[in-house]
């Protein structure tokens, strides 16, 4: 085979892979958006909406872990921040907060924690309550759900990556940080309602339309958001910046010697990933109607990583599907009578199996499959081409 032929073949392989890739994305988005046409059970729509949110977390993990090589064991921090920011706004819209009149909302737990005789107004019912004042505007809470994770992630990642901390050390720092913030949120009970979290929330309201979580419209909000995030993430990793990011993952020193400020790329993508997690937190609160410090449990953050590993850490859509799949399996197993007490064994077993036998997760299997089909096609194609060339020569 001559040089020219191999070169065309590799081009063909890439073209085919790209086509297969886009086909999978299109199919996934079509299924997600089309689901309400098939499923008319509002409970299942709501449940799947929650899992789609977890799918978004999978995307965030794949972006930082798969593409940037940064394992963030504290992704729950950004999810939690997003959730709390959203919940603060929605809390101020709930009936119990508005009982003193619509211009003077105060969360019920603040009344409850208040010192006797305190002014029952957000400004000064307790020391930190003024922080809630801007959250009376719903758009503010929604914006902060993304902005605050972005800012926190930017500050955090700037210090980590400028100091060239890498690998497991990043994982440990993020882990310690999520523990720290969780502790502080539980302790700051007068303004966060502590361990119980923020519950009894109003519904997301956009131009007068209230998004009841058990409504197909709410499902569409989540599914649409996921589709947008997925495509945005796909675009990001396809850009030159995405390619350069992957190069910094492989060999940061080489990337530096090519003139790239490696830390800047790491900070950028780490921050984006945190923003996505924050957005996921926002949507989760819309679908589940509460925010809780348990969002910042270590177990939850590690679970996210496992979802991404099951789906394929190097693939945004793989990690996304992995998250949705694992949660569906968990729910189904735990609701099946014979597995009622044994479902955790199954989940644990799946994790072990995936790490041992599917190091690239579902996406890896899909890729192998596509490659195999492709090789067959190319082989056939080459044969015809060679045959044609032979004929011409003859």
């Amino acid at each position: 085979m001559t040089v020219q032929e191999t070169s065309t073949n590799s081009g063909a392989v890439r073209r085919f892979e790209r086509a297969a890739d886009w086909a999978i994305y299109a199919l996934f988005i079509a299924i997600v958006l089309g689901l309400p046409l098939v499923v008319d059970d509002v409970f299942w729509l709501n449940r799947i909406a929650k899992y789609l949110v977890f799918g978004m977390l999978g995307i965030a993990i794949a972006l930082s872990w798969g593409y940037a090589g940064i394992l963030n064991l504290g992704q729950g921090l950004f999810f939690g921040l997003g959730a709390y920011m959203t919940a603060m706004s929605l809390k101020l819209m709930s009936a119990t907060s508005l009982q003193q009149g619509s211009d003077k909302p105060v969360p019920d737990f603040m009344l409850w924690n208040a010192e006797p005789g305190a002014v029952t107004d957000l400004c000064c019912i307790n020391k930190g309550s003024f922080l809630w004042i801007p959250f009376q505007a719903q758009w503010f809470g929604l914006a902060m759900a993304i902005v605050v994770p972005l800012i926190v992630a930017f500050i955090l990642s700037s210090s980590i990556f400028r100091l060239r901390v890498s690998g497991v050390y990043v994982a440990i720092i993020t882990l310690a940080l999520v523990l720290l913030v969780r502790l502080l949120i539980i302790d700051a009970q007068p303004i966060t309602n502590g361990f119980n979290g923020l519950t009894d929330l109003g519904w997301l309201t956009i131009s007068g339309f209230e998004f009841d979580p058990y409504m197909v419209e709410t499902y569409y909000v989540v599914a649409g958001s996921l589709s947008v995030v997925l495509l945005l993430g796909r675009w990001l990793v396809s850009t030159r910046a995405g390619l350069i990011l992957q190069s910094t993952r492989d060999d940061p020193t080489r990337a530096r010697y090519l003139g790239y400020d490696v830390a800047a790329y790491q900070i950028f993508f780490f921050t984006i990933s945190a923003g996505i997690a924050g957005f996921a937190g926002l949507l989760y609160v819309v679908a589940a109607e509460f925010a809780s410090p348990s969002f910042m449990d270590i177990g939850f953050s590690i679970s996210m990583v496992v979802w991404a590993a099951v789906g394929g850490r190097n693939s945004l859509i793989g990690a996304c599907i992995g998250a949705i799949l694992i949660n569906t399996v968990e729910a189904t197993a735990s609701e099946t009578e014979i597995f009622k007490e044994a479902w955790k064994l199954i989940i644990g077993g799946v994790f072990i199996f995936v790490v041992l036998y599917m190091p690239n997760g579902l996406a890896g299997i899909a890729r192998d499959l596509v490659a195999r089909i492709q090789r067959k096609r190319v082989d056939e194609g080459t044969q015809t081409a060679t045959a044609a060339a032979n004929r011409r020569q003859a």
């Binding site: 409970f43 939850f300 009622k340």
Partner: protein
């Protein structure tokens, strides 16, 4: 027919196969005639399953007993058990499954306030009833929850005066886990302590689930207090009592008076660490009545463990099913609205004595008791109210029997 729970699991394998086929199929199949479906929602896995599993067992036992005795209005109760997995997220999801998909009107469940708060929106916005069996901090007035555990005034209103007057202890060191229940208990305690001429010299908290008590016990030792009021929850309790003894403190000089330490924690720490300390609860395993002894025996047989202990939340999990049954029978309907109306003022002879559901706030009249722990891991009841007392979920804010904040019509916020 009397089935124990293990058998129940085996029998339901057949249902399990059907359930695996598809969710909707299962719901349809189970909704056969002559059955009432109710939900049970406790953690069967995760950290809280230690206690919540026993609550699920007690609920199941009551259901089995009722079914064996002919059911409710001739219909069999069919429980649908879900696992909250010790995680508020899962509780929320399972609650919406039970209420929205299975369309259940009644669910028995939750141990922690955090899990109750996470499921509450589902019950309130879909108008179903949640039966909550655990002592809790109060400050809740939901028409969708029936509360059968104690609220602060039912644990403290006899306890604090008794400590000050009978024990003669006046300087309180208040210690608790860092969340709402202990903080609220502390708030009510402080009011009562001051009313009765005592003083509190510290109010300290430790992370929930934390088990390192060295520094705290050392502080207690240095503080000059003469009694410790403990609102510590869960497995931290064990570490606390052990450290207390290891640092040379004894309950005869400096007693721990607890609001949460139950038979479970005592058994877990080893009774020698708690000998001489006190707890206030409406129910103790040691309650010396035939009804309670029979209850304990049935429970032990049911869970196939001759040493199983019973405790307050467990007993409430048990009797609240009966309260529900009576309410259904009275209302003649299983809808949440009918049961809510039916359960108001409902009376039942529970293992701890007579319990009555308050018609206004849907909390339960209970009899406060104080027990001193002995070397056998059982309490000796040394003080008890003559009659059940009225539940006042807003007692910390000045609620009195004559001036209720939470009424059938809802919460009167002007009074807060």
């Amino acid at each position: 027919m009397k089935t124990n729970r293990r058998n129940f699991l085996k029998q339901s394998t057949a249902f399990g196969a059907a359930a695996a086929l598809g969710p909707s199929l299962y719901a349809g199949a189970a909704r056969a005639s002559g059955e009432i479906e109710v939900g049970i929602l406790f953690s069967l896995t995760g950290g809280l399953s230690i206690i919540e599993k026993s609550l699920a067992d007690a609920t199941m036992m009551a259901i089995d007993e009722i079914n064996a005795a002919g059911g409710v209005n001739g219909m069999t109760i069919k429980p649908i058990l879900e696992d909250g997995a010790s995680d508020p997220k899962t509780f929320n999801e399972k609650a919406s499954k039970l209420v929205i998909r299975d369309r259940l009107q009644t669910v028995f469940g939750s141990y922690t306030s955090a899990s109750r708060k996470a499921v509450l929106p589902v019950f309130e916005k879909r108008n179903s009833l949640y039966f909550y069996p655990t002592y809790y901090e109060g400050f809740e007035c939901s028409k969708n929850v029936v509360y059968t555990g104690a609220v602060p005034n039912q644990q403290l209103s006899n306890f604090i005066p008794w400590i000050i007057n009978t024990l003669g202890k006046k300087k309180f060191f208040i210690v608790g886990s860092n969340y709402i229940y202990p903080r609220e208990m502390a708030k009510v305690s402080k009011i009562l302590i001051e009313q009765h001429g005592g003083e509190w010299i510290a109010d300290e908290y430790l992370e929930l689930g934390h088990s390192e008590w060295g520094a705290m016990v050392s502080k207690i030792k240095e503080s000059g207090c003469d009694v410790v009021l403990s609102n510590v929850v869960g497995d931290s309790v064990v570490a606390f009592y052990r450290e207390f003894k290891n640092q040379g403190l004894t309950h005869d000089k400096l007693p721990i008076c607890a609001t949460v330490t139950s038979e479970i924690e005592i058994a877990a720490m080893g009774p020698e660490f708690a000998v001489g300390s006190y707890t206030s609860f409406p129910y103790f395993q040691a309650i010396d009545t035939d009804r309670n002894r029979a209850f304990i025996e049935r429970y032990r047989k049911y869970v196939n463990d001759p040493n199983a202990v019973t405790h307050h939340a467990l007993e409430s999990s048990y009797f609240q099913v009966y309260l529900w049954k009576q309410a259904v029978e009275k209302a003649g309907d299983i809808s949440a609205d009918a049961v809510r109306e039916g359960i108001k003022g409902q009376v039942f002879e529970a293992p701890n004595g007579t319990v009555t559901v308050d018609p206004e706030n849907l909390h339960t009249y209970l009899t406060p008791r104080i027990a001193q722990w002995g070397a056998d891991g059982q309490g000796t009841i040394i003080d008890e109210y003559k009659e059940p007392i009225e539940p006042l979920p807003y007692v910390a804010y000045g609620e009195t029997p004559d001036n209720l904040f939470c009424k059938g019509t809802g919460l009167d916020t002007a009074k807060l």
